[in-house]
C-alpha cells in the first residue's frame, strides 16, 4: 500500500496551532509525529524579568481557558516559599473559582470535540451553557476569562452575596442540561460508533508515559492531584474521581462529563461552608526568601506544576512551568497508530491538548 505523508498543518480546521506529520497507508495512520512550537512565547524567560505580582497576568496567558488553574500552583509555590498561611475564606473562594474554571474549560472541550466530529449542535450547546458559568465568574472576579484574581496571600476581592443563589440556579439548570447532553451527544449511536474503541491508550502506557488528567483517568488510573497531593482545602471536601478502564476517546469525553458534575457538587459544598473573614493578607511588599519549591495543582486538563527557584530578589530566579498539554503531547504517536484519517481530529482533541499551553 503506497504511503502518503500528510502534514496536518498549523492552519487546519482539524488541529490547533501545531502540526502533526502523519504517514498514512490508505486511510489508516501508521505514524504520527507531533511538531509543537508554533505559539512558543518564552514564558519562562520572560517570567525572570517580572516581579512576583507582575508575573500573575503574564503566567495566566498560556492556559487561557483555565486561568485559575494556571495561576493556582504559582501562588501556592510563592506562599510555600514565604511560609504564609492564607485566610480560610480566601481558600474557599479559590476552590470555587478553580472548579468554575474547570467546568468552563470542560465545556469548551465538549464544544470543540463536537465540531471536530461534524456535530454542530454539540458545538453550540456547550458554548451557550458556558456563558452561564462565565457570567458567574464575572460577578466574582470582575473579568470573564483571564481573572488575575489569585495573588500570593489570598484573593483580590471578596465574593458578593448574590453569588450563592445565582450559583444554585446555574447548577440546577446545568444538571438538567447534562442529562440532555447525554442523550444528544454521549449516547448518540453515531457518536458512540465513532469514538468507542478509537485512540486506545492502555494503562501501562499511560503510567509509563506520565500522562495526566482525564486522559489518565480514562485509561484506568485513579489519580487526581486534588486527592493525591491535596492542597488548599480539598481534604475538607468530599468528591469522587471518575475513572473508566475503556482507554478510548469515548471514555475521555465521558470523564469530562462526570468531572463537571463533581465540580458542581464541590461548588455547592464550598458555598454552604464558606466562613466569613478577610480574603487577603495585607502584605505590603512581596518579599520571597531564597529557596526553591515545587507545587502542583489539578488544573482542568491535568496536573499543572511550577518549579520556582528564588534567590531572594524581587524577581524569581527560575520559573519552570510544566503544563498538562505538554505532558500529554507524548501520547499522540501512541494513540494515533491505526486510527483513520477521519478520526484524527477527535482523537487529537480527545486528550484535551491546548497548543498555546503546551508551547508556553
Amino acid at each position: 500500500m503506497s504511503k502518503l505523508s500528510l502534514s496536518v498543518g498549523p492552519q487546519h480546521p482539524g488541529s490547533g496551532h501545531m502540526r502533526i506529520i502523519l504517514t498514512l497507508s490508505g486511510d489508516y495512520i501508521i505514524e504520527a509525529i507531533p511538531d509543537p512550537g508554533y505559539v512558543h512565547r518564552g514564558e519562562e524567560k520572560l517570567a525572570e524579568y517580572r516581579n512576583y505580582i507582575q508575573n500573575i497576568p503574564h503566567l495566566e496567558r498560556p492556559v487561557v481557558l483555565d486561568a485559575t488553574g494556571a495561576i493556582f500552583p504559582y501562588v501556592l509555590a510563592v506562599e510555600d516559599l514565604m511560609n504564609i498561611i492564607v485566610p480560610e475564606r480566601a481558600q474557599f473562594i479559590r476552590v470555587i473559582m478553580a472548579e468554575l474554571n474547570r467546568i468552563i474549560s470542560h465545556l469548551y472541550y465538549m464544544a470543540i470535540y463536537g465540531i471536530f466530529m461534524g456535530h454542530s449542535t454539540m458545538f453550540m450547546w456547550p458554548v451557550g451553557d458556558r456563558e452561564v458559568f462565565i457570567d458567574l465568574a464575572n460577578t466574582i472576579a470582575g473579568q470573564r476569562v483571564t481573572y488575575a484574581f489569585l495573588v500570593p496571600g489570598g484573593v483580590r476581592n471578596d465574593m458578593p452575596e448574590k453569588v450563592k443563589e445565582q450559583a444554585d440556579k446555574a447548577c440546577n439548570y446545568f444538571e438538567k442540561r447534562l442529562i440532555e447532553y447525554e442523550h444528544i451527544f454521549m449516547n448518540n449511536p453515531l457518536f458512540e460508533k465513532r469514538t468507542k474503541g478509537v485512540g486506545i491508550l492502555p494503562k501501562q502506557d499511560a503510567i509509563r508515559l506520565g500522562v495526566v488528567g482525564p486522559t489518565l483517568r480514562a485509561s484506568g488510573v485513579k489519580s487526581d492531584v486534588r486527592k493525591d497531593d491535596t492542597y488548599s482545602i480539598y481534604n475538607q471536601l468530599d468528591f469522587e474521581i471518575p475513572v473508566s478502564n475503556a482507554c478510548d476517546s469515548w471514555s475521555r469525553a465521558w470523564i469530562h462529563m462526570e468531572e463537571m458534575r463533581q465540580s458542581m457538587s464541590i461548588i455547592k459544598q464550598c458555598l454552604k461552608r464558606i466562613p466569613t473573614g478577610p480574603v487577603k493578607l495585607n502584605l505590603k511588599q512581596i518579599k520571597v526568601p531564597p529557596g526553591e519549591s515545587y507545587s502542583r495543582v489539578e488544573a482542568a486538563r491535568g496536573s499543572l506544576s511550577y518549579y520556582l527557584i528564588s534567590d531572594g530578589g524581587k524577581v524569581p530566579y527560575r520559573v519552570r512551568i510544566m503544563t498538562p498539554s505538554f505532558r500529554n503531547l507524548i501520547t499522540i504517536p501512541y494513540i494515533m497508530k491505526g486510527v483513520m484519517l477521519a478520526d484524527m481530529p477527535p482523537t487529537y482533541w480527545g486528550i484535551d491538548y491546548w497548543p498555546v499551553e503546551a508551547d508556553r
Partner: protein, 168 residues
Amino acid sequence: MVFIIKLLSSIISGMNQVFKRRMTFRYPDQRLFIEGDGYKYDPKTGIGINGYRGRHILYLEKCTGCSLCVMMCQGISQAIEMKNLPNKQITVNKKSMFPQIDYSKCVYCGFCVDACPFEALFETNEYELVSYDRESLLFTPEQLAIPPKKRPEPTVNLKYGDSDVYHG
C-alpha cells in the same frame, strides 16, 4: 433496535430544545447589563472591592503623580505613561503629571488600581471601547476623568427559566 431507540432519544432531546428560548441576545440593540460601578481598591486594608474591570476612571484631584501605577504596569503591558497637564494645578500634584492609559495594550488586570495608594485610579464597568484606529485608544487623563455615561436601554442580563436560560 437499540440504534433506533438511541437515535430517537437524541432526536427528541434535540426537538425539545426547539421549544425553549434562545440564549443569545442581539448586541447592538440589546446590551448586557453589568451592575455595580467597577472594581475599586482600598489601600488601607489591602483588599479590592468587587466590581467589573472595564475602562479606568482617574480622580485628578487625588492623583499625586507618584507613577507607582506606571512602574507596576511596566512589567505587565507598558500601557500607562505619565503625561504633563500644564493647565491642571492640583495642590498634591506639583509637577501636574497624570497617567494616560493606552487601551490597545491594557489587559484590564487591575493591578495599577492595587498599586495606587491614594485611591485615585479605579475601574468602571464600561467595556465598549471600539475605535477605527489605534491612536484614539490612547486615553488622555482628561478623558479618563470623565465618568462613563449610563448604558442605553434596553439592557438585558442572564435569566434562568425552569429548563432554559435566556437573556431577558
